[in-house]
Symmetry: none
Subunit: 137 residues, 4 copies
């Protein structure tokens, strides 16, 4: 009685990272880029030349977060500020929940099958690079 | 001169989870549901099909929090925002304190004997499912 | 180019826990029993009456470990003692790796699709209860 | 009077991972492969199809460890068993020190400029794949 789910695999992750990298180069902002599978587990990661080393962790956690809650981290941010319905969620899951833009779930047939997380610039830049990566799938 | 306390046990937890699940199905929002005993320790947990994986941790911590402070987590939220008297409490207890709705203490004879924690939807949805579970006791 | 994987679901987890509980009752040793899916994420958990509260965490981590390395935790133990090729693995993954008996991967068509973790007695008891649970799939 | 250091960069990491992957395919054992720079910070990571999810963390920490102590993790193992001069080192650095084979420092002009960490098989397999990766530099 097991069930079947779809998930990203390594070949997808490479293509997604390549597309995200291209976008990051266009906007001239070096990024850390991570791709996770349907189980929230990391498939691939790259840090571009001169990307912030603090973004290594953040990009991976953005990827995890957007799969863990099937939501863009930028949208989660809207609910997670002081006064919002999810304020405090950043303290859950041993600090793995990133509540600012840059993480995007990747869907197929309306099911989340993985995610991308980007960190290295402004929230807007991170999100646009993540979108470019997600669009490559 | 030890004392006696009342506590939920596994059979209660199963009934509480079943009632919460029924409510979650009615509102069509899959949930993670956790029940803790009077000692704050987990008795039982279920993740419904398609519930967020990030809610596994949160539901258990909501159950813990509502027993640890004998309060609904939605009520704790009111005091825990920036500017509130308990702001910062989410960083205590190794990050186990959840300060948003979905956790409810379960009482008997006006004493807290356990708790339920629910995560998987909006704060309002989580709370309503937790209430349905608590009412089953 | 995504791929498809099989995974345990909640209905499976309930059946597995019921079978494990039956075995635990037979050997008169209360247990904590956890079942994880193919992504290593918890599906369901129950703590039997009088089971050790320290086993709540251990049973969940045994389930995670046996999926994370596709191995029985009792077999992992053989390689993880001082002098063994994996000695030190217990310090990885933020302390989630349990290197003693009680965790078993659950397979279908020779693929791991989830796992069970049991804690509450001797290594031999934990393993036998986990086996009874796994056999119910 | 600052100084200059040499370090691996992303292009190197890709070449190293490609070579390691080729070796892993030859020995038919899927691996997680991580490459760090001279600062011990992750440059790139790939998880091959069916590699253990528990190896995601371990491969990255093997890379960190072999740069952090400028030593192969398999050699560190020799001193880190119970009774050895470094026994207990696995508990330092927040659990980032991996004391079993699979991590190798990468040198240029006799200076460590980065490292590779591999996890997914036996210690011998992990080490041979790491060696193949390191040789590609």
């Amino acid at each position: 009685m097991s069930t079947t789910i779809k998930t990203l695999q390594l070949a997808d992750a490479r293509r997604i990272i390549a597309a995200a990298t291209k976008k990051a180069e266009e906007i001239k902002q070096p990024m850390c880029i991570a791709v996770a599978d349907a189980g929230g587990n990391l498939l691939a990661f790259e840090r571009m030349e001169n990307a912030w080393m603090g973004s290594i962790d953040i990009s991976q956690k953005k990827a995890w977060t957007s799969r863990a809650f099937d939501i863009e981290t930028g949208q989660l941010a809207a609910h997670s500020q002081s006064g919002g319905q999810f304020f405090g969620i950043h303290a859950s899951n041993d600090g793995k929940v990133m509540i600012f833009a840059g993480g995007i779930p990747i869907k197929q047939d309306d099911k989340v099958i993985g995610s991308i997380g980007v960190s290295g610039g402004s929230g807007e830049q991170d999100h646009s690079v993540a979108e470019a990566g997600a669009a490559a799938f």
